[in-house]
């Protein structure tokens, strides 16, 4: 005779719980991917899938293995920071089989202008041109070797040292003025710049030669009433002469 027995409702509950646990285990075995949780709460195999992705850009190291002459020229130029595939396009296929696919050679002005066209948002000092003003009928490679883009002619006498000012002025409304229009530099300034400083305008009448109401200059130049405009301030306290339209 049994001293005690499980109540019926407990037995039924136990059966249900057992079925539920077994079902849970079976379902988990079926649905949880094999490598899930090996490293963390994700499928470890997924990393291998990502790593299996093919490469399009071979990297500049691979280019230099064959084209070491070009890489050497470029390394001494202003374009040393550019990688080959930035201009020539993704070339991993070419590296695998050089005869198979040739990298592209950019033509025309557009590819260069992508970086060098003037945009006000570009950092100061980055070499930029206004396309319409910069030899509009020529292609860039007529004068600049893309692997060593320094212009063939010697830099402007002043711009050789004052490059940032020269570039800023070149895109301003004062672009057509020579440095000598406003500054007188002795020839000694080139040997000993600080001992022989060039002159700078000191009077607002100097700007007035072009910008005064009664100045003898082109009618397209903005005019002000020299005696009253700007009160006690001198012109260049508000207008930067190398970039007068800036505020």
């Amino acid at each position: 005779m049994r001293i005690w027995k499980f109540p019926d409702q407990v037995v039924r509950l136990a059966v249900l719980v057992t079925i539920a646990v077994v079902a849970l285990i079976v379902v988990r075995q079926m649905f949880v991917p094999e490598s899930f949780g090996e490293i963390g709460h994700y499928r470890a195999d997924s990393i291998d899938t990502v790593l299996a992705q093919g490469i399009q850009f071979a990297g500049m190291q691979a280019c230099g293995d064959c084209h070491d002459d070009m890489v050497a020229i470029k390394a001494g130029s202003y374009h040393r920071g550019l990688t080959c595939e930035g201009c020539h396009g993704p070339s991993a296929v070419h590296v695998d089989d050089p005869s198979e696919a040739l990298p592209t050679i950019p033509t025309g002005r557009k590819p260069c202008l992508r970086c060098h066209d003037y945009l006000p948002s570009r950092p100061t000092g980055f070499p930029q041109i206004i396309e319409a003003l910069h030899n509009p009928m020529e292609t860039c490679v007529d004068c600049h070797d893309p692997h060593d883009p320094t212009p063939p002619e010697v830099p402007e006498t002043c711009g050789a040292c004052h490059a940032a000012i020269a570039r800023t002025k070149a895109v301003s409304h004062h672009w057509s003025l020579d440095c000598e229009t406003c500054h007188v530099a002795q020839i000694e300034h080139r040997q000993q710049p600080r001992a022989n400083l060039p002159t700078k305008p000191t009077q607002r009448e100097f700007c007035g030669q072009c910008h005064a109401d009664d100045a003898d200059s082109s009618s397209s130049i903005p005019r002000v009433e020299l005696a009253t405009h700007g009160g006690r301030y001198i012109c260049w306290q508000c207008h930067y002469p190398h970039y007068p339209e800036g505020r």
């Binding site: 490293i39 499928r43 990502v50 920071g81 992508r114």
Partner: protein, 253 residues
């Protein structure tokens, strides 16, 4: 004996039973107790990170193009793993931001306007947060942080619920209509594991983008951190991004 110790002893004896141990390991709960294998393997691993020098970006958009080529990202706008924004700060304090087609073809010229006080470009991408909100919200574990700190998406496992896209504070994720799964920048994981640079860093003509590892002195990133003031995007969200910006303007969000 204190009740707590009693309970502990009971649990220990329970675990000694073979069927309980089997059950626990089948359910994967033992990994929960271990705190996840992730942190254990994290110690010796590399920590990939990117630097973005905002004052060097010229807005050419080569990085956007290279990224789409390398990773087969859809060419249409609004699918970007990386993109470039142009900020124009007005004299009235308003910031005007535009990013035509993500900057993939460069930027159209703007008038030099007296209303614009200052203007610059900001390249953006997934910040590969050390505390990623997108991983936290994924209901199935389809997006995750690898041991070297890169956030990846498991496209076979993703159910396309878009929760991670909503959770990302940087807008770095999108839903790929071809696979109907979430997609985002991987730091070109397949490249960096072969010691190649990410495609965007490879083509950047001004070294505005720098790639390296955190905690390593022999890395260009270390030099950048040494020479510049470093900011991250939305630091107040405590996501610990691993994309470090230098000389970033406070207007940039």
């Amino acid at each position: 004996m204190a009740p707590v110790e009693q309970r502990r002893g009971f649990l220990a004896r329970l675990m000694a039973l073979p069927w309980v141990a089997f059950l626990v390991s089948t359910l994967g709960a033992d990994r929960l107790f271990a705190g996840g294998g992730q942190s254990a393997s994290e110690g010796g691993e590399r920590k990939f990170a990117m630097g973005v020098q905002v004052d060097r970006c010229i807005g050419c958009g080569l990085c956007v193009d290279a990224c789409k080529t390398e990773n087969d990202v859809l060419r249409e706008p609004f699918f970007f793993r990386t993109w470039v924004e142009r900020y124009q700060l007005g004299s009235d304090g308003e910031a005007h931001v535009d990013s035509p087609r993500g900057g993939i073809n460069g930027f159209p010229a703007t008038e030099d306007s007296p209303d614009v006080m200052r203007s610059f470009f900001v390249p953006k991408l997934c910040n590969q947060c050390d505390k990623p909100p997108c991983v936290q919200v994924c209901p199935v574990g389809a997006t995750y942080k690898t041991p070297d700190g890169v956030i990846l998406v498991d496209h076979e496992y993703c159910i396309g619920c878009r929760y991670c896209i909503q959770a990302c504070p940087y807008g770095a994720r999108y839903l790929d209509p071809r696979t109907k799964t979430a997609d985002k920048c991987t730091f070109c994981y397949h490249r960096i594991k072969q010691d190649l640079l990410p495609a965007c860093v490879e083509v950047c003509p001004t070294q505005a983008r720098i790639f390296g590892e955190l905690g390593t002195r022999s890395s260009p990133l270390h030099r950048m951190k040494r020479m510049n003031s470093i900011q991250v995007l939305k630091p107040e969200l405590n996501t610990s991004p691993k994309v470090l910006y230098s000389n970033l303007d406070g207007e940039v969000r």
